[in-house]
Symmetry: C2
DNA sequence: ACCTGTTGCAACCTTTGCTGTTACGACTAA
DNA sequence: TTAGTCGTAACAGCAAAGGTTGCAACAGGT
């Protein structure tokens, strides 16, 4: 499957910023987050831009600029992040319309539509059960050697 | 997300073959299924080949060749089909290893791994609740005009 | 023994989406 | 005015999905 890492990187960034703010800093830069996630600052800015559009973040420009959270980590769920950065359905329909003269070709899309919607609703429910606070707790619980 | 239509096309093919066999035919050809799904026979043969590897189908060659089910539609679930044609995780980790010297970079992958596994387990459970018999019933229940 | 219809499979192309990178204007604190 | 950071466009590289063509392998009918 064309699985991507957008949810992973976004969760990483949010956990990083949350921890950083807890340590007394006001804002975090895309450069700092990119270093931790081992990627390019522009990738981070693009993702955080989508989170800002969803109301989860705000950014300041100019000298001493950077990113900050608009809510506590405990009130942000993986569902909020998922919907912000990973839109679109889990399963795609046919690329070309099936043969509408065939009984199966005619009925398959409505049938699968209903089934897929139920499954995606369950997925959203699961994502909504995990907060970024939970994620950060698990992150800090990783054993160090 | 890079959603693909493999599960959709495979379910379409299975429902088509199941109905066709119920009408007294022994085998179905990739040509017939491709016509119903409005795609190329080779695409169908590739997908059905993966279902055969999973033990859900068998194929005959030569004149009068084609595809047939090895089980009743009622004993095939969407999970069987999903695992046969759509392997790999739902969410990807970072492409490059995060900074292991950073607390978040160090703990993020184990943390997300555990969370993702739970979510995928729930997804599999949901897929397992739907049989191809259910799918075919819904297909035939589509209103005709 | 040949002909015919179908699968099995390799090779290639196009499209799409994600990721990474460079570049540069916009903005703001000092 | 300067310096540091965001905002965003543009482009390249890569991978996966889907479509297409071509052909060998196979098996039933004649």
């Amino acid at each position: 499957m064309g699985a991507n890492s957008r949810l992973t990187i976004a969760a990483h960034a949010l956990a990083w910023i949350g921890l950083y703010q807890r340590q007394g800093h006001e804002v975090a830069t895309s450069e700092q987050i990119a270093t931790s996630a081992n990627t390019n600052p522009v990738v981070i800015r693009r993702l955080l831009g989508e989170l800002r559009r969803a109301g989860l973040m705000e950014s300041r420009r100019g000298v001493g600029a950077g990113w900050s959270l608009t809510r506590e980590l405990g009130s942000i769920t993986l569902l909020d992040v998922y919907e912000a950065v990973d839109p679109g359905p889990l399963f795609a329909m046919h690329r070309a319309l099936p043969d509408q003269g065939c009984v199966v070709g005619y009925g398959i899309q409505p049938a699968l539509q209903g089934i897929y919607e139920g499954i995606e609703e369950t997925l959203r429910h699961e994502l909504a059960r995990v907060t970024l606070e939970n994620v950060l707790r698990d992150v800090l619980a990783a054993p160090r050697y």
